[in-house]
């Protein structure tokens, strides 16, 4: 477990009737913001939309901070809020995230070929994640990207550990298949250009 996860995973101790409670709560919230942004970016696939989601989560957390159970993990609580809002949003909009195409103009930039390929590979990964069903995407981001345990991910998603395990396996296999297909497409694109 990384140092960063250790920090934000600290159980929050609330001090009733103390004016510092609010500051302590906000400090803990600020500490976990980078991880929430990463999680939200993986869920939404867009930086601005992700920040809107995190902002909404902060506002909801502050409004409901009395619901936070002392001694439990603050980061898990926040991840759950982010996930809940996101699910509500996609249900309300009833939209599917569109497949984000790699902008073609970048292919012709002056960047060194290796760097372009590396960046394209990462964009391909993000796009592949965006194609996963929401429940698999959530499991993948919580466990593989953020390094949470299956138990923590299960608590956040509100499902049994076994469900997380199977969602995760499906996501990982699907991701590999997507990436393999993507690299094939990229190779044929390069071959076509070379001809």
């Amino acid at each position: 477990m990384s140092v960063r996860q250790n920090l934000a995973g600290s159980p929050l101790r609330l001090v009733a009737g103390d004016g510092s409670v609010s500051n302590q709560f906000s400090d803990q919230l600020i500490a976990v913001l980078p991880r929430l942004r990463r999680f939200a970016r993986g869920l939404t696939g867009a930086a601005a939309e992700a920040d809107d989601l995190v902002q909404a989560a902060c506002e909801r957390a502050l409004a409901r901070k009395h619901q936070f159970e002392e001694g439990t993990r603050f980061d898990s609580w926040m991840f759950r809020i982010v996930q809940t809002i996101w699910i509500d949003q996609i249900r309300a909009r009833d939209v599917r995230k569109e497949d984000a195409e790699v902008p073609e103009e970048r292919l012709g930039s002056d960047e060194p070929v290796r760097r372009v390929e590396a960046r394209l590979a990462l964009e391909e990964v993000r796009r592949a994640v965006g194609l996963l069903p929401p429940d698999q995407r959530t499991a993948l981001l919580l466990v593989t990207v953020d390094g949470l345990s299956y138990k923590q991910a299960a608590e956040i998603a509100g499902v049994p550990v076994g469900t997380i395990m199977s969602r995760l396996a499906r996501a990982r296999i699907a991701l590999q298949a997507q990436l393999a297909a993507g690299s094939g497409v990229r190779r044929s694109r390069k071959d076509a250009k070379a001809q």
């Binding site: 960063r4 600020i30 913001l33 942004r37 593989t144 299956y150 590999q176």
Partner: protein
């Protein structure tokens, strides 16, 4: 069966299997080259996946999110009005300084530092004083409110946690190696100032997020309640250097300065005089002057 195998392979990779299950999977891997290949592919894609979303961990958190976390929907962009700490002794000369320090209940070790390390102490005081010949009584510094709020907040978080306080790098063990781990998340190496002459023991270090950027919080404790506990927060800053500046917020005292891309905040509930002396020592040891 294959699907179940995938579950187990992924769980094996994630370290989620019990010992007996691990052994079963390892036996299976040993006998099945295809499974080994799948496992290698899974490990590779996991690394790619982390790299693909790593960007968000290294970029500054937008101010609007910091403000939202503080419950300030209006944005809270205003800069701090900070009263710079100008010690009386600086104006009154060294004789005044001696009288000030002589009046403090200084422990024997502290007196030892002042006598033994006196040259460094006075030399630094002079350097800082010499760098800013004229200071307005009140100046609006470029210091960010959020930075100072965070540094003060993390100090209070540590104090309120009491014996349950968590540190990422405990004082015991290989501190150097552990600090290097923290340094990997920062744009600069973290060095540990020795504050034992002040009776302050290094308790541990944490990686914290100050103003949306990673920073190191070094924690020092002492039995002398007049001095400790103290924290030293070291982060990065793109703003210009400033001399040590005193600030009081959230019921704690801070001595804050910036030097060559790094921002420092010494935080505690101790007297300003102690903070000033310790900050001198820290700056001397870390070449942060």
């Amino acid at each position: 069966m294959q699907k179940r195998s995938d579950d187990r392979l992924v769980a094996y990779l994630d370290g989620e299997l019990e010992m007996a299950e691990r052994r079963e999977v390892e036996a299976w891997l040993e006998a099945d080259p295809a499974a080994r290949e799948t496992l290698a592919g899974l490990a590779e894609s996991a690394n790619l996946l982390r790299a693909a979303f790593d960007e968000a961990m290294h970029e500054p958190v937008p101010d609007r999110l910091i403000a939202a976390a503080r419950g300030d929907t209006a944005g809270a962009q205003n800069l701090a009005q900070i009263l710079p700490f100008t010690p009386h002794w600086r104006d009154a000369g060294r004789a005044g300084a001696w009288r000030r320090w002589a009046s403090l209940p200084i422990a024997a070790s502290l007196v030892g530092l002042l006598l033994g390390g006196g040259a460094g102490y006075w030399g630094l005081g002079k350097l800082w004083a010499g760098g800013e010949t004229k200071q307005p009584a009140i100046e609006t510094t470029a210091a960010n409110n959020v930075w100072l709020d965070n540094a003060a907040g993390y100090f209070k978080l540590y104090v309120s946690a009491g014996d349950n306080a968590l540190v990422d790098v405990p004082a015991s063990g290989d501190t150097t190696q552990a600090l290097q781990k923290i340094s990997q998340s920062l744009p600069h190496e973290v060095r540990l100032p020795d504050l034992k002459p002040w009776g302050l023991d290094f308790r541990g270090a944490r990686l914290v997020v100050v103003e949306g950027r990673p920073a190191a919080q070094l924690v020092y404790t002492t039995d002398n309640k007049a001095i400790g506990p103290l924290t030293l927060t070291i982060g990065s800053s793109k703003q210009s250097d400033i001399a040590p500046t005193f600030d009081h917020r959230q019921d704690v005292n801070l001595l804050y300065w910036r030097h060559q891309g790094r921002a420092y905040a010494l935080v505690g509930q101790t007297d300003i005089g102690y903070l000033w002396g310790i900050a001198n020592d820290v700056a001397w040891q870390l070449d942060a002057i």
